[in-house]
């Protein structure tokens, strides 16, 4: 069993802690968090020890570090862990600043430690099956791609203000999915945005609605649709159009129950909370980290992927601001 130190005992940290505990190959050894109560409670629940970062990194039995702290600390903590020779599992995003992310990714790569950047959607069973079948030729050669990513409700405006904007905060997930599925790097970006959900989001200098077109060198096209509030739940769908067919992943429903009445048939609502929708994805992230520690595979997503997604986000923001196509 590989001993793990977890940095961050907040909401997402607790998810990772539970998944580490449930995996027979991993053992949660340390919990690091400046909020002492949160760290203590989490450590107690899973039989771990509260520690400072230095203490945890100094323990040679610790094989891996999960960075689930606030976004602005991701790079520093990842670097500290890599320098201590630990494998790193870092929550996305890498950073909001492209230049800084690029520099850090270079340094991290030089250190040679396995670095896993946890873009959760790649581990969703639906999207993973879609990717595997697409890559296996189930619909011939991929031509175009549609990604729909609409949130059930917008975050507080105070969060919007420090979020880095809709492209770095929200669409970045879809840029990663697009890169993963397209099988080629996008070379051109065009984005058009609007404020349709809440004027306060516009007043904060951001948009709440975006449509983005990516184009790869060989001419594959990808359309991404984003909204901060869908009006009908958490809409997470992908359609991939190939030379021999189309493959798509639909939304997950809370139950399979349908009600038929005079007005028609009604299905149950979507899984609307992202921690429900992606519960299996988070569990599979922990399994993937165990695989990395077992030397079974390299990280499926690395820091370089984070840099590239961030570069697309910057390009999209520039396109929307300038009403023009941006080459990447």
């Amino acid at each position: 069993m590989h001993a793990i130190a977890l940095i961050g005992a907040g909401r997402i940290g607790r998810i990772h802690a539970a998944n580490i505990a449930a995996d027979p190959r991993l053992k949660l050894a340390y919990v690091v968090d400046p909020v002492a109560d949160a760290a203590a409670a989490l450590a107690r629940q899973f039989g771990a020890t509260v520690a400072s970062l230095d203490q945890a990194l100094a323990d040679p039995s610790v094989r891996g570090v999960v960075v689930a702290s606030s976004t602005d600390t991701h790079l520093d903590f990842s670097l500290a862990a890599a320098e201590a020779g630990k494998a790193v599992f870092c929550e996305k995003p890498l950073d909001q600043d492209l230049a800084r992310a690029r520099a850090a990714a270079d340094r991290l790569e030089a250190l040679g430690a396995p670095l896993f950047l946890a873009f959760n959607r790649r581990f969703d069973p639906n999207f993973a099956a879609l990717q595997a079948r697409l890559a296996g030729g189930a619909v011939g050669t991929l031509e175009t791609l549609h990604i729909i990513s609409h949130d059930p409700a917008p975050p507080p405006v105070d969060y919007i203000k420090v979020s880095g904007g809709i492209f770095k905060d929200m669409v970045i997930h879809d840029f990663d999915m697009a890169r993963w599925l397209l099988g080629e790097e996008p070379t051109e970006v065009f984005a058009s945005t609007s404020v349709l959900v809440d004027p306060a989001i516009g007043a904060a200098g951001d948009a709440d609605t975006a449509k983005t077109i990516l184009r790869t060198g060989s001419g594959r096209l990808c359309v991404i649709s984003n909204s901060r509030r869908s009006g009908y739940g958490y809409d997470q769908r992908i359609e991939a159009f190939g030379s021999k067919g189309m493959i798509r992943a639909q939304n997950q429903l809370e139950t399979t129950v349908e009600t038929w009445g005079e007005e028609g048939a009604a299905a149950d609502r979507f899984q609307n909370f992202f921690l429900d929708r992606y519960a299996t994805a988070y569990a599979r992230e922990a399994e993937h980290f165990a695989d990395i520690l077992d030397d079974k595979c390299a990280p499926l997503v690395g820091y370089a992927d984070g840099v590239r997604a961030l570069a697309l986000a910057e390009a999209a923001a520039a396109s929307a601001a300038g009403d023009c196509l941006v080459k990447v």
Copy 2:
């Protein structure tokens, strides 16, 4: 073009008239109906002539007769037409009395005229595709069958009183479908009925809800579910279970429009009026009659089929009355 005489200018007669007119191989020549106004209006609309039955049958150019008059006249008019050497297209049911139907079917068969008994569901594109694929081995060897046949709303109680009862009036359609799809004659019938929709139906000596099990000689089983009022529209579904899979036909919706809201996704309502639901089936009946007149095929459903469905209806009624299995 084959000249056709139509007996009956009521609701179903008008449907057949329009389908005859639309078929380039058929010509509506005569309309026969004791209600002079109805006959005249229908004849005018499609360029036909009002006539008595004798007049229409005496015209040697008339090739076929469509019997769409009231149920109690089906046998007599079919016999008259067959004796005049015409091909006959008779609305179901053949008759409500099994002995009389049997005797008439024997006489009709002896006359040698083509006799097409129009069980409309066999001509529905969905059920026809299901039957063809099932017969083609799409799901291996058929084992069991589920037929759901729930009406949107019960007929008036005055109709119930003269309907012959739920088995002869309603389930008879499903007995015909069962015989067609099972590929073997049912040899055992068990039926259980209830009055759940309207006590007035019970007071009239009938039931409004029935579940029937048929068993064939080789052990194939068929379950038929009937209700005079579904609470959610016109439910017409079939599921056929084979050794290698299941094939089913679902309900037809009014449109493909779906609405997604916070409570889930809602599809449009079913096609609830049987003349909408089976509009294509009626048109295909006319095409089938043209094929018969063109000597392209024998009737897909004949009077003997009507006799056998009626025999199953009598057996089911006896089973429900006696709480016992009835051998056919």
Copy 3:
């Protein structure tokens, strides 16, 4: 009954002839076509008279003219009919040349005759229900729109060469749908195209794949996806995202039959031939023309709509050629 002259006895002309004949308010009086045999056959089938255009227009009993001839004659024949005081039902497109179409539309409007430009998709029961419910507030205020319009197979390259290009030939349908559903005029267009289906289409100077973003003055966004060959049939879908939900129209299937096997459940194929898919829409166009002749309503789509869709097509082609946003 309103007497109608039909110009054009080709494939689409025959569809309109049959729908006119089936409508009790319309009577097909004349068929005009330089191909004498085609005109004669169609006239014979529906009891009409073969005539020259002048003869047909000279008959004062003729109330309406259906222009179903080749595209390059649409404007001239429409003008001739309007000058003769007839109501006009013209197949789309109006013309391939924007300036000419604009000039003609102005002249036609000045003549005051009712002019119905037959964009068939507006009459599809699914899209019409979607539009009505959307306009009725079923999903709150419309925010964004996704239109998918993928053909089953590309036309011959010889057709591509004279088609006016993918935007004028194919996407123009979707521009009309977008205008109809958005409830506002698009003011910005961005389009990205590729040659992914057939290099011969690229060699002919056209593209076979396109993604287009439209933006209205108030910030509503519309994405249109087009492919000349889908690999999975005729894909005609619309999703409209509103403040309170999403409403969409799905593809029509050939039957409701599903097959369930070890690999999962399979539904039947789409209606892949556009004349099947839009058969009801064509019938409703005839009904709409009868309504216009009955003075029950003004044309739902007029020549000005054709001009505006054509302007969007030109803008989209310019955007794709210049890799830039184009203001309309």
Copy 4:
């Protein structure tokens, strides 16, 4: 945290052990199994102690006992645990012998210990939601019920021989669901069976296919369809027909991925292994046992329910053997 003793370290015992460990209110204290290795491995994994039944029951800190041993020991172990004052969570079935089950249920009830008989389907989120909405009047008053319960593949014939027959071994689940959903006790049973899957099952004196009709005192009807081998996966569906609509629970799919090709759209396969299909149900059983130990609720299913389901199974077997309706 409530200390739990688990009897049985086989496949289902290991499922219960993991769910107990994952529940913060329960602690797996003892594992009891005559197979020493299995007991030791399971105890080691979850930090429990291997013990004999007597040792485990003698520990006053043990609040609950989970009986997951072989069927023939269920009654004896439940009785021993209840006599020791422990709450009991017993895997279904209670027993194969109705008289013995009845006697034991009476004795157990007299002991007053909470007795939870784990019919897993009641804890499936889909069926539980269906039951709650049905009971809440979502479709008006329940009238009839259809239960489909087809296994992906038959068990070995050696198992069939000791299984008690299809009604006691397989349909018993559906009898419990029927009782739960009907809201009334069935008073009449008719069943028809066949050997269609494997003649060896018939040679062993059992059937592999069954259709059963239940009727309650007020006339509600329930149809249950069973097959030992479906040919298309694990088919677990329920449709409940009420006065105002229909509510149903569909099968769970492995993923939401669909593939669209020229032949139509294909969905992913069903969850075919019962431990996958009912994984959440097993977890909710553990939660329910924790609720019982917390005195939050009485057992949702008790031993009396097991007796009644067994009585229906005996009646159905008698009906099928005698080709007659059996009153319960």
